[in-house]
Subunit: 523 residues, 2 copies
Amino acid sequence: MGAANVWIDGQWRAADSELTFRAENPATGEAIPGDFPVSKWPDCDLALSAATKAAVELRNIAPEGIADFLEAYAAGIESSAEPIVASAHEETGLPTSPRLRDVELPRTTNQLRQAAAAAREESWRRATLDLGKNIRSCYAPIGPAVVFGPNNFPFAFNGVSGGDFAAAIAAGNPVIAKAHPLHPNTTRLLAKQASKALAESGLPEATVQLIYHLSNEDGLKLVSDARVGAIGFTGSRAAGLGLKRAADAAGRLIFAEMSSINPVVFLPGALAEAEEKLAGELVDSCLAGAGQFCTSPNLVLLWEGAPAESFLARVASGLSQRAPQPLLSAAGLRQLAAGVNYLIGEGAELVTGGVVCQGAGYRYANTLLRLNAKQFLAHLNELQREVFGNATMAVTVAKVGELEALLELLEGNLTGAIYSSVTGADDHLYAILEPLLRRKVGRLLNDKMPTGVAVSPAMHHGGPFPATSQPGFTSVGIPASLTRFAVLECYDGVRQGRLPAVLRDTIANPNTWRSIDGKWVQG
Amino acid sequence: MGAANVWIDGQWRAADSELTFRAENPATGEAIPGDFPVSKWPDCDLALSAATKAAVELRNIAPEGIADFLEAYAAGIESSAEPIVASAHEETGLPTSPRLRDVELPRTTNQLRQAAAAAREESWRRATLDLGKNIRSCYAPIGPAVVFGPNNFPFAFNGVSGGDFAAAIAAGNPVIAKAHPLHPNTTRLLAKQASKALAESGLPEATVQLIYHLSNEDGLKLVSDARVGAIGFTGSRAAGLGLKRAADAAGRLIFAEMSSINPVVFLPGALAEAEEKLAGELVDSCLAGAGQFCTSPNLVLLWEGAPAESFLARVASGLSQRAPQPLLSAAGLRQLAAGVNYLIGEGAELVTGGVVCQGAGYRYANTLLRLNAKQFLAHLNELQREVFGNATMAVTVAKVGELEALLELLEGNLTGAIYSSVTGADDHLYAILEPLLRRKVGRLLNDKMPTGVAVSPAMHHGGPFPATSQPGFTSVGIPASLTRFAVLECYDGVRQGRLPAVLRDTIANPNTWRSIDGKWVQG
């Protein structure tokens, strides 16, 4: 049997490829039968040309058509949930239940349906009418989107089914999905459902395309191509910055979500009130997905002293009592081990873990490191390194000034959390620290862990550089996430019949929110 | 008398500078007395540190304080309109009346007042509340803004008084204004009014700062500095791309408005109906500000044949009958002459103009070039070069397919216009051409010239790369322009009393539009 077919211009066809790769089962370390191709440039070129045509055709398709496709796709994923979940479990080592079947898959179909609703409602277009001057503007599709999914969410962030995909499609753009090479078969199974749903809905055949893998060079060429409208990327800082450099130089827009260490501050009153509960929450959050969440709490900040010692002992004990889950890959295990050793080399002390687990598969002992604020500040840049996996690091501070200094010097992060006393005992500290943390994070939490990322219109999954490349945009939360894949289009003095439906004086859809002469009105 | 003082950290102080420069009167070519400093890096460093502090302080200032400042500033500009207009006239050669006194100055104070109203209303923050999940988000200030104003609008786009300035301040950010070196005294006079208004309103002293000039190297260093939140730039493509490269590499956000040739299509029916009127409109538009508008129609597209010949003859005659106005600088004159010669070298035929005017000052004959679509397509990249000044180029097409090919291959532009018959005779051509033009421009016009850029909430002054660096954002139009200087901030589970006022369950301001559980509501 040859390598799997790529999906380009409506055809599942043999890739233009010389190299192939296989996924591995990270729970056993064994390769999974089935070769997948590393496409050469002609596959990208073909996909870009097809996407360019599809982008033009999509502009003439009513939002209902796009919504129907997204909904049919969601239903298709549900109807074949069993093999999709089984494949993802095999390729990622993530638990079938609850994680893959009961949490991530429903989240993914929910995202697709929310995106469908947003496409249908059209409020995402933020139609703005100045009736007196007859100037009207709205968001419109930006053109072919290229989506690079990460390794850690085989459904919800997959290039062919995840949040970026749903947002780009709902905004009226074709998507060229680049699979993550750690879960190619899962991606193929998802794409098969997309393919069925496309055929049913009558959208252009090249509305969705799939390439499994590319050389780095071709990846850079792809994001630089003038046919690309925008790029969505979720992954490592090194890969993200490389793609960003190429895209920026070519004037292409890239929305890259990169690394984050997600500081969590425990104020003294909070620890005094609920030490055991908070230790449990921290352990749970650190181990969610074997620590392979973008929002995993990698940096824990607390006051030095007996309560901190008791808390950290409890955390260490919680971590060491839980069985380490498989990491996503051999490379992930290597990087985690290297990252922990690097932090130790920069002055962190190992409290628990810190070793590769014996036996089959890719597992690393649940790990806690610690040091004090003085040590952290002395190697600030080095110690802000994201270590992706089931490890976290606690920093104890002697006084609030140390914590202020530390927060002041933190890089941009996706999230930052502060736990404080319910009685108000920590309010003075909160008032000092919140403004400092606020400026460094996209999402600020009170009294909860950052690992849950609700699909809410008010969610912001993003943050200041280098957590992301565009701090004004979120990759989770509908309809806001759609505007990443949109341009602003203005119509000045354009005759009524020539306007897009959403900008005419009267519109058919009673649900669409528009800003007319400064007032938001519906319908 | 030494060189003019820069305005840094609340003080008008001697610049750290070895070089100085003078403005010239472009109507005479003579230097204007008064030296201005080229600042060295320590001035930038000082300004950045002061702006960083001011940014923190501004977050604790109610929107009313910011609005009061902007309004006091607008009033101050009006109260000293006479010397400001006189200085601008001397430094730019632009007519005192109506242009500077009756159009640009009122537009500038109007922008400042609209920005004040937007700051007060707070709808620009797009507060989004998910009450059930207690997740809330809104736009918030991005941090110190650096604004580079262009040469062609000494008030309305000035770094210390123009649209970018007003937007950045209204969004709660301090501004470091980099004057355009062609009108330093005008900028100084404006800044003096800003300085008075700041003192009255009690905002942090470093909310506005002014540097007159920098080396290229320091300009690149400035936009790369980690203390910068965002950069607004309006100017040439070369300068814009240089700054963009530096800002991108450092992860700083830059909103660069660069070059545009603003295609205008005259469909046959339109010419048949109103040839004389349209020729007059085109001539007026081409000569507005001596052709030195970002939206000047540099590319005129029409069907070959007798009507086109008659129309172009009328345009040529109109251009040659009008006295050439002074260009902004000797360099501008050199570049215009070189640009026209370059287009001629690439195959354009000179119809009228094409020579530097004799006598004092910097004037170039009003110029019309022409060629046909085949010739244009043969040197497409070269002939899309923006020639900044009182010159335009007509391209005749033999059939619609040629125009389709041409529009398909155009770069991104700020605007594109289509004139068509009022009877519907051109509707079939419009239907073919509009989708092609639409994708290449930010603002699409019907039956009007692009040079007017109304300050309307529905305006889009922006467009696809390389017209601008961010096709989703406008630099004119309030409140949309404010979001360039904003980040998205989310509050997840944050206690009510700790939320910013705009995100609490109930707010005091009855005018603020917020999206609560999917509905836009006021107050």
